[in-house]
């Protein structure tokens, strides 16, 4: 865990930013398998995705300043599956939009492989909760879209479309339009479309929130399998703590407005996991206990303001 320069190969860029205080030292270990794992997760010399002191404030319609996110620091290793949970209105979706480059933070930086991002890039693909697919295109054309924008030649596009549709078990539906598919199938198309551009990082914004329980369980299994097959880095936002513990290597808990990292829970349970595993339930319990205060604050604000304290991410198109 030494950061002394002699341990870093000369060819690797040395991170310019100082080690992050706070968020790491507060990690809590949970689950029986977590024994022996260091509490402080050492970021490799360059994290796959790094958030540095991200703050974001809005001006509301009434003219008040609203601090949505405050000093968020997060280092995600390559190949890691990180889940972000928090009450509604904590800015967790906004955080993903920032990572996707669809929005800029008021202050702070988003780094990918140590370099600040320049707007959206196909190295980071965002999967939306719903409606992110293009209804005027067929399933195959949707999956092909990112590759077409990248200028990949047609034969290769076709090959990859087939490959990724098989991966999500939708090979038979390549000619269907989006409205002809069920909710679960749509999210599988979204996953295939995201994977087809071969991004290093998948950003998932409550992708299974609108699905029924059985479909969601099934997609959890599939996502876990795809993740371990492809070795992608996944940052997954959800309000469902069980889902976060079932999927993530690490669960980040955000506070309610302003969104700050409240705590971090490494999840060292063996995979494949299931939502019904007692260990998952136990671990989720711990996270939930801390989340409860934030939910109460969120509900209180909702009650006081008479409106849902929800901030829609992504101002511009």
């Amino acid at each position: 865990m030494s950061t002394s320069p002699r341990n870093v190969p000369a060819s690797l860029p040395i991170p310019l930013e100082p080690r992050l205080p706070g968020s790491y030292s507060r990690g809590v270990k949970i689950g029986p398998a977590s024994v022996g794992r260091p509490t402080v997760v050492a970021a490799p010399s360059v994290a796959k995705v790094g958030l540095h002191d991200i703050s974001l404030s809005y001006r509301t319609q009434a003219g008040e300043r609203l601090q949505a996110l405050e000093n968020i620091n997060l280092q995600v290793r390559a190949g890691e599956f990180v889940c972000i949970v928090g009450p509604s209105g904590c800015g967790k979706s906004t955080l993903l939009h920032l990572m996707a480059g669809l929005q800029s933070p008021t202050s702070g930086q988003v780094l990918v492989d140590g370099k600040p991002i320049q707007g959206p890039g196909t190295d980071r693909i965002l999967i939306f909760q719903e409606h992110g697919l293009f209804p005027w295109l067929t399933v195959a054309q949707n999956v092909e879209f990112g590759m077409k924008m990248k200028g990949i030649a047609k034969p290769e596009r076709k090959e990859r479309v087939e490959h990724y549709l098989r991966l999500v078990h939708l090979a038979k539906f390549e000619k269907s339009y989006i409205h002809q598919l069920s909710g679960g199938m749509r999210q599988r198309v979204a996953i295939a479309r995201a994977l087809a551009t071969e991004p290093d990082v998948l950003l998932m914004d409550e992708p299974f929130a609108a699905l029924d329980a059985q479909t969601r369980d099934l997609l959890h299994d599939e996502l876990e399998r795809i993740w371990s097959d492809t070795g992608r880095t996944i940052i997954f936002v959800t309000h469902n703590v069980r889902e976060a513990v079932r999927l993530g290597d690490r669960v980040m808990l955000l506070t309610f407005r302003p969104g700050r990292v409240k705590n971090e829970f490494p999840v060292d349970l063996p995979r494949p996991r299931s939502l019904e595993d007692p260990e998952v339930a136990l671990a989720a319990r711990e996270v939930l206990d801390e989340l409860r205060d934030e939910i109460n604050r969120s509900l209180e604000a909702e009650y006081k303001e008479g409106v849902k304290p929800h901030i829609e991410p992504g101002g511009e198109v």
Binding site: F128, G132, P135, G146, K148, Y177, Q180
Partner: protein, 253 residues
């Protein structure tokens, strides 16, 4: 089948009433043309190619004007909707300009372009440009933001974003505006042709007037209606139905 029958009955009655009134000879034929008189005009007009030529000339003019309007209008609409400042200033101006019948531009168009095709083109464009612009502006606002975000996220930007994402995403929201733009273009053209003697359906209609041939006037009116209906009811309806099928929207009627 039932529908076709209803049409036949309705138009049969209409035609029958017209024929009956003409047969009663309450008014002289030069005031109240007869159906067979109009039929003879139509037959003769197509036979000696007058109508074919007039239709071809008018269609060419309206298509040129309409296509320019659509391209310009889409760019303008996107531009205006891209900033709050433009939307408030230019957007407001466009809305107020829309109440101006495009033929009001005719005197200026004559001064600027002379008595030429370009003057007609200008009036046609002024007729439909505003509808298309406003429709595009509105469509961009109605279109779910998520499509633009997803497009940019998947690597589309600039023209590619417009062509592959924003345009198809906004089509269901602007198709009625495009239709309205067409209707305005068509009306502006006919009006301008009635003022400017150089072929086209409007001129043929005015020729009927000059010869006090009301049968010819009605025959050309029928042609104008028929073409408007074909474009509206066949081309735009087809486009709408196509979009509804793709998007899975419920049919409008």
């Amino acid at each position: 089948m039932k529908r076709a029958l209803r049409y036949i009955i309705f138009y049969g009655i209409l035609l029958g009433a017209w024929a009956l009134l003409a047969k009663l000879k309450i008014w002289p034929p030069y005031l109240f043309p007869t159906p067979w008189g109009v039929w003879d005009e139509l037959y003769g007009g197509f036979k000696d190619h007058t109508y074919w030529i007039a239709i071809a000339v008018s269609m060419r003019r309206v298509l040129a004007g309409y296509i320019i309007s659509v391209v310009l209008g889409m760019m303008l609409g996107l531009g205006v909707s891209s900033s709050e400042f433009l939307e408030e200033t230019v957007g407001g101006l466009l809305v107020s300009l829309q109440s101006l019948p495009s033929i009001c531009w005719w005197p200026l168009a004559l001064l600027w372009f002379g008595l030429s095709q370009n003057a007609i083109l200008f009036v046609v464009i002024m007729g439909s440009l505003l509808s298309v612009t406003l429709a595009m502006e509105d469509g961009r606002r109605q279109m779910p933001k998520i499509f633009g975000q997803a497009g940019r996220n998947l690597g589309a930007s600039g023209f590619k974003l417009f062509w592959y994402v924003l345009l198809p995403a906004s089509l269901p929201f602007i198709v009625s505006g495009l239709k309205q733009g067409w209707a305005f273009a068509w009306r502006s053209l006919i009006t301008a042709e009635m003022l400017y003697m150089s072929m086209g359906l409007g001129q043929v209609l005015m020729m009927g007037r000059d010869f006090s041939n009301m049968s010819a006037v009605i025959a050309v009116m029928l042609l104008i209606i028929a073409i408007g209906y074909i474009v509206d009811g066949v081309i735009f309806k087809g486009l709408e139905r196509h979009l509804q099928n793709k998007w899975g929207l419920a049919p409008a009627n």
